[in-house]
Symmetry: C3
Subunit: 316 residues, 3 copies
């Protein structure tokens, strides 16, 4: 594997999940493969799980890590070509990416969607600039449109908890006071498609995701109808894709609660975290035995470790 | 030892001090005990000594460390139960503590008093939430009401410099332009009580500390009277406890200077740092051979190392 | 070597460059010399190259590193003697430097010029305070008036690319929208002087550097005249030294472009980075094969590694 930008960079996704579970069972077995190599983690946005789990994963492979929070510790980077850099940006990504590539053997990049301009976000300017100008493998730590490490952790979690080969999985939009990106939903849907799960999307009218992502997948605008017979409920807010980045409704009718979970087939509850309690989902669901949110976060470590291993060993 | 939240978590305090001094004499003798373990240091407030000395201590035990400055690098955490998280907090400590516990084998937490509401500060909401929801040992890196690593470093320093078994130690209030917490004074007093030192507290009227902390200890409102025959002077500002968090007087009559030190029995001068020169204490005292402030800071490393060792080896 | 404050701390500069190139050829050969030692990196300003390359260099020597961004993670430090610390500064450098010296075996300090007061900047208050009050070797990670690690990386780069023993090197002022310090230019000039290069300085009238630095060196106020027969062009902006810290001209006549490079003897182009494209130099020069800017950044690692090695082994 050269880069891990999205799920499509993986040759055999089922093999990847199996390998992740093997690594989880023996996480220090590969402690030598990263020796004398350095992982750089470049954050353009805040991070808790990604920061800590990726550092942990790196250390379990013997990799040194260097973390840089660009907004606090560096300066503004220019991403446009051929600009006259007379404004705030002090350095062009052409230089930054080449330079960091000389200090690091692998670079992880976190750069969220700005949700102002769809074309801009979909161009994945920041991430793709590091791929283009950097000279080492690049890992996506959540970009505008994808969060493939989260999706891999979710896949591991589902494999660990499913009771049937092809469970019914419902990804449900849920309310949120702030405008949020589509990255987690996009990658989850791609992952579920590659895993042959029985996937259903449910969201209010106006909140349909990018049709390229959801093509061929059942989208139901009635949440309770969608929840019937579900084995897993994956909750996530996203802002409107059509009316790009906008919040169209604010009421809590779509919040996930115990009553709705009772419609399902004793479904497990999933969320990528951070989650706003009693806005996205109520306490009773999060605090129940059906919640897998803590397991998902734990599996972030093994997802990162597996991807780092495949990059270090240049495996498919 | 499961957690190190305050001094009362220690079974035999005299043994702990002896062990700290032994570790100081041979700090790399335990370099293997932390291998394959990770210490997470979570800062909700600024730190110099605690940050550097605890990282240093961890490394001397072979522990990996992951530092996170929550205010710069993460988002606002919710600590109240059953709230509807529609405001600024993006994640509940229920999730944060469980999640971080999966990436770290031990977690250190720094969360200062806000000095707005006494009951709130005394509930130690942040620290206790990590104890309650986390699943790994928690170390107090200074909370609202306690700074037990500082107190242990102070105890080591006194043991190294005392000339008699039970020296007279005076903890003296001193002026400061900002409203400061009671944590250092509380833990110092608890430590001195457990060490059977001849402890005297001196502070202006209106600045008496929490009576539960000072119970049975001589409080003298005349600083010079208190200083007579003292072997150690420990200077510290704190805001009013009764008129909670308020600054009642601003003059510098209580500043510690050479003339006042001459009243003592050639007392050593102590302060936890950072110290405002010529406000809390004047240059002549800080720059004299009687000052132990740099020694105290040095002993922070061995205090942290001893506590980490006892947690790793699950000793009493 | 005790401290590395400026280029004059080096006994034999040509030997130092040779040794740097040897280390570059075998960077992990010295992996044991830093074991059980800690490098503290204290940043009072932003950093990308210095931060990452110095961490990388330290790790290749087996040194542990502790990074502290004072502005984000600590508090304001007082540098004046005998002040009454009633304002914003919470700790005096007397204590800070002594304390950090106890946790670290070597300390790197970055503290830029403020460009408000020439005497203040030239006193190198921050860096010199750490030298004065600290008790371990101090490395300059760019101070008000010097950036010797950059100069060493530049020297390595010139040695790797020169075609004749004493190439003609032109350091040229270039435009910039912000007021910038003189540190890089000062150290580059000192380095070129010690390396016996045929050095020419070119800058607009009003932008002459400190005459103590440029003494005996040819300063030409006509850029194109200066470029003739040059083997290396080193571009750098600096604010006025006479009218201290001021920007006197804003036009782009001094920007380095392809046409000007064609006046030279196929000169290589150098810049310390970060560089503002199409302000300091145009895309066609930076993106050409003549540009060495990425090589310079790479050599920062080996410059730092060499200095750290000489300090650890206490070599001349």
């Amino acid at each position: 594997m050269k880069n891990f930008i999205n799920i499509n960079n993986v040759k055999d996704y089922q093999d990847l999940i199996k390998e992740s579970i093997e690594i989880k069972n023996n996480p220090y077995s590969l402690k030598k493969i990263g020796v004398n190599k350095t992982l750089g983690l470049i954050f353009f946005n805040s991070s808790l799980r990604t920061r800590l789990s990726t550092i942990k994963a790196a250390k379990m492979l013997g990799l040194e890590t260097i973390v840089m929070n660009f907004n606090n510790e560096g300066w503004e980077i220019e991403f446009e070509e051929k600009t006259i850099m007379s404004k705030n940006s002090a350095e062009h990504v052409k230089e930054a990416a080449q330079v960091i590539s000389q200090y690091c053997d692998i670079i992880g990049i976190r750069a969220f969607a700005e949700l102002k301009n769809k074309n801009h976000d979909e161009s994945e300017k920041i991430l793709n600039s590091f791929v283009k100008y950097g000279s080492v493998p690049i890992i996506n730590l959540e970009s505008s449109c994808a969060h493939p490490l989260q999706a891999l952790a979710d896949a591991i979690t589902i494999e660990e908890h499913k009771n049937k080969p092809n469970p019914k999985i419902v990804i449900s939009w849920a309310p949120h006071p702030k405008s949020l990106p589509h990255a987690v939903a996009n990658s989850f849907i791609n992952m579920a498609r590659m895993s042959n799960y029985d996937l259903v999307i449910t969201n209010p009218i106006g909140y349909d995701l990018n049709p390229k992502v959801t093509k061929g997948i059942n989208v139901i605008h009635n949440q309770e109808e969608a929840f019937k017979n579900a084995d897993f409920i994956y909750a996530k807010n996203w802002s409107s894709y059509n009316d790009y980045g906008k919040i169209l409704i604010n009421d809590n009718k779509w919040m996930i609660n115990k009553r709705k979970m009772e419609i399902t087939n004793n479904a497990k509850f999933m969320h990528c975290l951070p989650v706003r309690r009693n806005i996205v989902v109520d306490d009773s669901v999060l605090d129940s035995n059906y919640s897998l949110v803590i397991n998902q976060a734990n599996n972030r470590t093994y997802a990162a470790q597996t991807i780092l291993k495949k990059i270090i060993l240049n495996e498919g």
